[in-house]
């Protein structure tokens, strides 16, 4: 009997420890790392305030399981400003600032910074697929998330476009500037 309990404990631990995080979760964890790096003044604050897009790739490069490419608001620059390498649990192994260039007129969100808004939108992907099965593919096959703003009846709205591999359709998520969820649609 004791032996059986020991096995339960042993295998229980291993199951939890070895399962890889989803692509969407890895992206969210990379946002948390950005926040930590900014708070500890290891990268500039612009990486909290002016993120416009994050692209995640799955890797098979030894310990590196995911790469998160972070883009700042800048119409003239097409390459990522920051790269984050993560293991299969989404733990950061290393990061590299490629460039800090951001548009001089980059937008400051009034209530929450862009990183936190992206985090809020990712929470919809992480949780929302349970109630909205059409969102599941963006949880499993997450590829990128892009933040833009628009005004609806003079209300400011944070608009996110989420892409996934294996589908042409894009997931659109709409949040209030304080991060409150408004709606989502696929198109």
């Amino acid at each position: 009997m004791k032996f059986i309990f020991s096995l339960v404990l042993l295998f229980g631990s291993n199951i939890f420890a070895q399962e890889s995080v989803s692509r969407a979760k890895a992206t969210e964890l990379s946002v948390h790392r950005i926040e930590r790096l900014v708070i500890l003044k290891k990268i500039p604050e612009t990486f909290l305030n002016h993120i416009s897009k994050i692209v995640l790739t799955k890797e098979s490069n030894g310990e590196i399981a995911f790469k998160s490419f972070v883009f700042l608001e800048n119409k003239n620059v097409a390459s990522a400003n920051l790269e984050i390498n993560m293991d299969d649990q989404g733990k950061t192994i290393s990061h590299q600032v490629v460039s800090e260039n951001v548009s001089p007129d980059a937008y400051f969100w009034p209530q929450k910074d862009s990183a936190t808004l992206i985090e809020d939108a990712l929470h919809f992907v992480l949780e929302g697929w349970v109630e909205h099965s059409e969102v599941k593919i963006y949880f499993d096959q997450f590829e990128s998330i892009e933040l833009t703003k628009f005004e609806s009846s003079s209300d400011l709205v944070a608009h996110f476009i989420v892409t996934a591999t294996n589908t042409q359709k894009k997931l659109h998520i709409y949040l209030k500037p304080d991060g409150t969820f408004l709606s989502h649609e696929l198109k």
């Binding site: 009997m1 004791k2 309990f5 020991s6 339960v8 404990l9 229980g12 631990s13 199951i15 939890f16 420890a17 399962e19 995080v21 989803s22 979760k25 964890l29 948390h32 790392r33 926040e35 930590r36 708070i39 500890l40 733990k91 950061t92 209530q111 936190t116 985090e119 809020d120 929470h123 992480l126 949780e127 929302g128 349970v130 109630e131 304080d178 991060g179």
Partner: protein, 304 residues
């Protein structure tokens, strides 16, 4: 006359101890500390430290903090001194942080009550000879007592998303102003969680080794803050203590909700968006949210 004296003694004892009573105490109560005094004293030290920090932040509330880094160093120094010279008994928060206890009456009761659960689960795990059905049944019995004895001050065991901690207008203020101290708190949460899994090792010898290693790892985590503690987020129980989560699936959420509520109090106190006169009301609102199984309910537990 005798009745009057007895009544006075009774009311005096109530006013002297704000802690919610668990009666009768489990027979295993505080045995963990007899077996693992170093770990137990760290737990006492952090109860002390948490209250002390809250009291200090409350004193500074609505004042302009010119040198947050200096204040953080000052707080860290005080807490490190306590950690290195920990109390050997549980300290009454009302004695060291009277303003905090007055300002957050509901949350203080929620913490007191769930800290007793934390403690008694450790006590049962430490004193159980075998990791068997008897131990599981006893932990579940303690958990059932926790739910039924004082239902009005129970933190829900419904799984909440991290938005419960991070989704408010005042969120993240503490970690932004006091990053090292925040990482010290997360390291402590990690320490608490890890102790459960250490105590679920099959043999006494393995448990002793695992508890000693957890203590050692904790000191290592806080040895050179902020860099020594590599947490990007608050450690989650199901992830850090998978054996506990497997055997007692409701407990991780109960513990995480407690930990998130601690961070919420820190943010309320640190945020310039929350004024001192709002603290009581916001504290009650947040406390109620911690109790509400539907508030910030997660569809996934744990998140993957």
């Amino acid at each position: 006359m005798k009745k009057l004296i007895l009544s006075l003694i009774f009311f005096a004892s109530i006013s002297a101890h704000s802690e919610v009573p668990w009666s009768p105490l489990p027979k295993e109560a505080y045995k963990f500390g007899e077996m693992y005094p170093e770990a137990q004293n760290l737990l006492f030290a952090f109860d002390y430290g948490h209250a002390l920090v809250y009291e200090m932040l409350l004193q500074k509330k609505d004042q302009v903090i010119d040198d947050p880094e200096g204040l953080e160093k000052e707080i860290l120094q005080k807490i490190m001194t306590i950690l290195k010279n920990p109390p050997t008994v549980k300290v009454d928060e009302g004695d060291i942080a009277p303003n905090y206890v007055y300002t957050f009456p509901l949350i203080t009761s929620l913490f007191d009550w769930s800290h007793l659960l934390h403690q008694f689960v450790l006590d049962v795990l430490a004193t159980s000879k075998d990791r068997d059905q008897k131990m599981i049944a006893r932990v579940n019995e303690i958990y059932s007592q926790y739910l039924k004895m004082n239902p009005t001050i129970v933190i829900t065991d419904s799984c909440k998303t991290m938005q419960f901690m991070d989704g408010h207008y005042f969120s993240k203020a503490f970690r932004k102003q006091f990053p090292s101290f925040n990482l010290l708190i997360w390291s402590y949460h990690w320490f608490q969680i890890k102790l459960y899994d250490a105590l679920l090792k099959p043999s006494k010898k393995e448990r002793d080794v695992a508890v000693a290693k957890t203590v050692k790892d904790f000191w290592s985590l806080i040895s050179n803050l902020p860099d020594s503690a590599e947490f990007d987020m608050m450690p989650e129980t199901a992830k850090e203590a998978p054996a506990l989560a497997k055997l007692f699936p409701k407990m991780p959420a109960a513990f995480d909700n407690n930990h998130m509520l601690h961070d919420i109090v820190s943010d309320l106190l640190a945020s310039t968006k929350v004024k001192k006169q709002q603290l009581r009301a916001e504290g009650i609102r947040m406390g109620r949210m911690a109790q509400d199984p539907e508030a910030f309910k997660s569809n996934l537990c744990p998140q993957k």
